[in-house]
């Protein structure tokens, strides 16, 4: 077992894990933050996307030990009390989800995209969400949500 510690959603957390524990398992099973989903075992679906030191990453394709000492944000870390993050609100407003399984990963990827690009375009959003698969929506409303959410994030700055 290996001792690890990291900051998750602003709080310091510690744990003892086997080296083979995936970061997503640590988040879901040790920290009980089940908003981060697992949708595949081939690193392709993006349901598990979180932020590691400011970059979006697939938490199913990282070992928990690799995240030792890092700063992690999960979907649970976005809202300010009862007030949703502008990107979450935009998904709600634009009907950017149906079953919702892909949504946490979509929102985390979308925020990273908005943070790293000046002005988002439909093309940039579609390209930027390459690593997130949705089985329900056909993406149309997701793209609308992300464009809206990115604008709202800018307005809130």
């Amino acid at each position: 077992m290996v001792k690890i510690s990291m900051t998750v959603n602003g709080k310091n957390v510690e744990g003892e894990v086997s080296p083979r524990t995936l970061l997503v398992e640590f988040i879901r099973e040790h920290l009980k933050l089940t908003g981060t989903h697992v949708g595949c075992d081939t690193s392709q679906c993006g349901a598990c996307v979180i932020h590691v030191d400011g970059d979006s990453a697939k938490s199913c394709t990282m070992l928990a030990v690799q995240a030792d000492g890092s700063n992690i944000i999960t979907i649970e870390g976005l809202a300010n009390g009862e007030e949703m993050h502008p990107m979450q609100a935009a998904f709600k407003e634009n009907h950017g989800l149906q079953c919702g399984f892909c949504t946490p990963g979509m929102v985390m990827s979308a925020i990273d995209l908005a943070n790293k690009n000046g002005d988002l375009t439909e093309e940039l959003v579609r390209e930027g969400l390459e690593g997130n698969i949705c089985r329900c929506t056909g993406y149309h409303n997701i793209v609308k949500s992300v464009l809206d959410g990115a604008n709202a994030m800018k307005a809130a700055e």
Binding site: P19, R20, L22, D41, S43, T61, Q66, L113, G131, N132
Partner: protein, 263 residues
């Protein structure tokens, strides 16, 4: 995933000696190939040695040569103003590997050590005439890539950097598998003076290869009109559920023409 011991290396030499001391060890770079493979139990190393703190990341320009540290991520190469100005085709190639999340963690060293027949970087190494620097030696791309998922690396040898020479013009065109983003066929064309190199990934049964006949034709007349793939043996192409050998062979012609036109 099977159990393993996890250790960190603080330098390439440290990683190499830890590998040498292990019966069945593997180094961990971005983990974007190794972790999925271990999850599927297709790889089950006893010791995993993390290169994250080995100080192998970074990009330097040395005259007309771009030196990229093995642990440099695809995202860093794609956004590097040095790479963009000296070898723009290389930055563009890195920016089209997989998706944002894969590019944030995946590294150049991991990609070429893995030598996936559908990976992008092997085409750039072969097309640009790169030198792969390891803890033991420097190898040309032709010496380094020895076959499907095979390289010239010894069990305890680690890639430390890749050196890419500047060329007059270069372009990479890939036809991505729409689901995985890996290349169904990808062609890297590079031109320096009267020399032309054409490297093909995604299509060949033995992994990345140079298309010598195309190179000769293009060296004589650098025009998309001279691209003729008919002499290429179809039985040397990959045939799988994603595409037939004939389709892949045809794609090589299409991608080469596009790359020549964009050069």
């Amino acid at each position: 995933m099977y159990e393993f011991n996890y250790d960190k290396a603080n330098s390439a030499a440290d990683a190499a000696s830890k590998l040498a001391a292990s019966d069945d060890g593997k180094v961990l770079a971005g983990g974007q190939t190794l972790i999925p493979t271990m999850k599927q139990r297709l790889a089950a190393p006893e010791d995993v040695i993390d290169l994250a703190s080995a100080g192998l990341s970074g990009i330097a320009v040395d005259g007309d040569i771009v030196v990229i540290g093995a642990m440099t991520t695809h995202a860093t190469v794609a956004s590097s103003s040095d790479v963009q100005s000296v070898i723009p085709a290389l930055a563009e190639l890195a920016g089209n590997i997989g998706d944002n999340q894969v590019r944030t963690r995946g590294t150049i060293g991991g990609s070429i050590a893995n030598n996936d027949p559908a990976a992008d970087y092997p085409a750039a190494c072969m097309g640009l005439g790169a030198t792969i620097i390891t803890t033991k030696r420097g190898l040309s791309a032709e010496e380094f890539f020895t076959g499907l998922f095979e390289t010239a690396l010894d069990e305890d040898e680690i890639i430390t950097a890749v050196k890419f020479p500047k060329v007059d013009s270069a372009n990479y065109q890939k036809f991505p598998n729409p689901a995985s983003r890996y290349a169904l066929a990808g062609v890297f064309v590079a031109k320096t003076g009267s020399e032309v190199r054409v490297a093909v990934t995604g299509a060949g049964n033995d992994g990345v290869f140079r298309a010598h006949k195309l190179e000769e034709a293009l060296a004589a007349n650098f025009s998309a009109d001279v691209v003729d793939i008919s002499p290429m043996p179809e039985d040397s192409m990959i045939e799988d559920l994603h595409a037939s050998a004939a389709y892949r062979k045809n794609l090589i012609g299409v991608m080469t023409k596009r790359a020549v036109q964009a050069c």
